[in-house]
């Protein structure tokens, strides 16, 4: 693979440097080479093996015995002064017809995206994304009251082809369409539903009130640093609450809630002034009362909190009542997106 002009750019880094691919991390080869991480992807991508080889810049293996011959050809080509990507493509082209190549190319992009979704939720991947986050690679929240809080790329679905990448703002806990149309061709599933929230859980110490223009720092812990529901109080939706809710006014007078055009959405940007109100764990413990036995609601022992209903079919019953077309998924996952 040696060429006259140093080592050619890898498929991965050239993919990540394409216009519109600024949000992608460069998945490490180690991650891709560990079969465990690719479990289940074979069936999701056509020409999987070839796509994987393309991502890893591996020469396609030929079944025939003419491998030696093949290599000689390659040397001839590089000797011609071709280098980099073009040279590599040329070599691939050599053993395949052009239509195959374009199928493999798009399969490789799909496969890379699906691997990426998993990678950015791994220790190495999320670390890499945090470096991009610190450098404001993912842009800032467009909401005025969020003061340019850095956002995170997320998908609203884990299934490719359903929706494009969105930006999650940890300051208002809402999602936005990226400002530039070049991101409107990037599949949201390549980032997935988990990454955004997992990022906040993994890096709880980032000071989320810092704007994209400022150096990102860790929260300075003071005596008042409160941990509520597992998050530092100062980091629970810092863009919401008093002073951060838009108040419609006409000539200085607040528009009444009772007006037809009066405010109806302020709840969406509200937050209790006393954030400990949200500390359901404490309230629950204090109130105690007639807790049902399988309510592990506030288990602090390092397990997911399960807020189970007493009766196993309670949810089903509710669905029957309100007939909402949205509330059909098993855990209600899609009911609020």
């Amino acid at each position: 693979m040696s060429t006259s002009s140093g080592s050619p750019e890898s498929w991965i880094s050239s993919f990540c440097s394409l216009l519109g691919h600024e949000y992608f991390a460069e998945v490490s080869e180690d991650f891709i080479e560990d079969d465990f991480n690719l479990t289940g992807l074979q069936s999701q991508v056509t020409m999987y093996k070839e796509a994987l080889e393309m991502i890893l810049d591996v020469e396609p293996e030929d079944d025939e015995d003419d491998e030696d011959e093949e290599e000689e050809d390659e040397e001839d080509i590089s000797g011609d002064g071709r280098d980099g990507l073009a040279g590599r493509h040329e070599r691939r082209h050599h053993s395949r017809i052009a239509s195959d190549l374009s199928v493999i190319e798009s399969s490789a992009e799909m496969l890379y995206g699906l691997i990426h979704q998993r990678y950015i939720c791994s220790r190495a991947g999320i670390q890499q994304m945090s470096e991009k986050y610190e450098l404001s690679h993912f842009g800032v929240c467009p909401r005025t009251n969020c003061n340019q809080t850095r956002t995170l790329p997320v998908g609203l679905s884990d299934t490719p082809g359903e929706d494009t990448v969105k930006l999650f703002c940890p300051s208002c806990l809402d999602v936005y369409v990226p400002p530039n149309s070049r991101f409107q061709t990037v599949d949201g599933a390549f980032f997935g539903r988990t990454f955004g929230a997992l990022f906040l859980l993994t890096f709880p110490d980032y000071d989320l009130t810092k704007s994209g223009g400022e150096q990102l720092a860790n929260l300075t812990r003071t005596d008042e640093s409160l941990n509520i529901n597992g998050m530092w109080a100062r980091n629970i939706a810092p863009g919401l609450g008093k002073g951060r809710v838009y108040e419609p006014k006409i000539y200085g007078f607040r528009v009444s809630e009772l007006a037809r055009s009066g405010p109806r959405m302020q709840w969406l940007r509200k937050k209790p002034e006393d954030i400990t109100v949200l500390d359901e764990a404490r309230h629950f413990a204090e109130e105690d009362g007639d807790s049902d036995d399988d309510d592990e609601n506030m288990n602090m022992s390092g397990r997911p909190v399960t807020r189970r209903r007493r009766a196993g079919n309670a949810r089903v019953k509710r669905q029957g009542q309100n007939g909402s077309p949205m509330a059909t998924e098993a855990n209600g996952a899609e009911s609020e997106l």
Binding site: C121, T144, V175, P179, L258, V305, R308
Partner: protein
Amino acid sequence: MAGMDDFVSDSDSDYTSYWRDWFISSRGNEYYCEIDEDYLTDRFNLTGLNTEVQYYQYALDLITDVFDLDCDDEMRETIEKSARHLYGLIHARYIVTTRGLAKMLEKYKKCDFGKCPRVMCHSHPLLPMGLSDVANQKAVKLYCARCEDIYNPKSTRHSAIDGAYFGTSFHNILFQVYPALVPPKTTERYVPRVYGFKVHAAAALVRWQNKERGEMRRRLRKMEVDSGFAKVDGEDDDEDEEEEDEEEEMMEDAMDHNPAAVVQYRGAGEVATLQ
């Protein structure tokens, strides 16, 4: 100036407003509508602006295409700048008149001010607004009537426009004058999840906010005011918003020490458990 009246008099329709035409069609000025000649020539509408703008009379002459001062480029540039500022100040007043509202409404319908970036607003058109009615205080922002929140313009060529050229009231007056245009409100929202689990801190806030919304809707119902929420939410939605999210949640603490434990990929839609 004496001749101005004859100049515009009755030929308004085929009169070409060169300066205003040029101004509102310049790149970066897409948010402005064209102020009527009639409005500009009624001195009553401009009350008090003469002290706000340098070379007020020349600036106004420029805007109304009767500027004929022989001056050097530097002076011309100064007057030009004053004219832009004056136009903005008049604009803030004009867009809350019947004519002005109608013109801005047309632009709103054409999405001239962009679309709400919030995913759940589904590209609802925005309206320009100011956070202050005093010039040189705050840049223009964009109001979404669907989420009732304000956003920064995407483009830097808009983010430098003075918000006072639109003012704090215009967008609210528009919906008061055209109540039928108030978009239906929805409770649709984003809920952060990790492997299908809601994030506990966020979910607790959502529950609290839902309670706030429920209280508001009860208040409105008591006063027999339409809450404006889309009917898809169900008829007696107040009841089901009480406890709509009794489901698995994940505490941040759960992952505090070893996120990697949960990070093992379990497949989309499946629920992860800590080992």
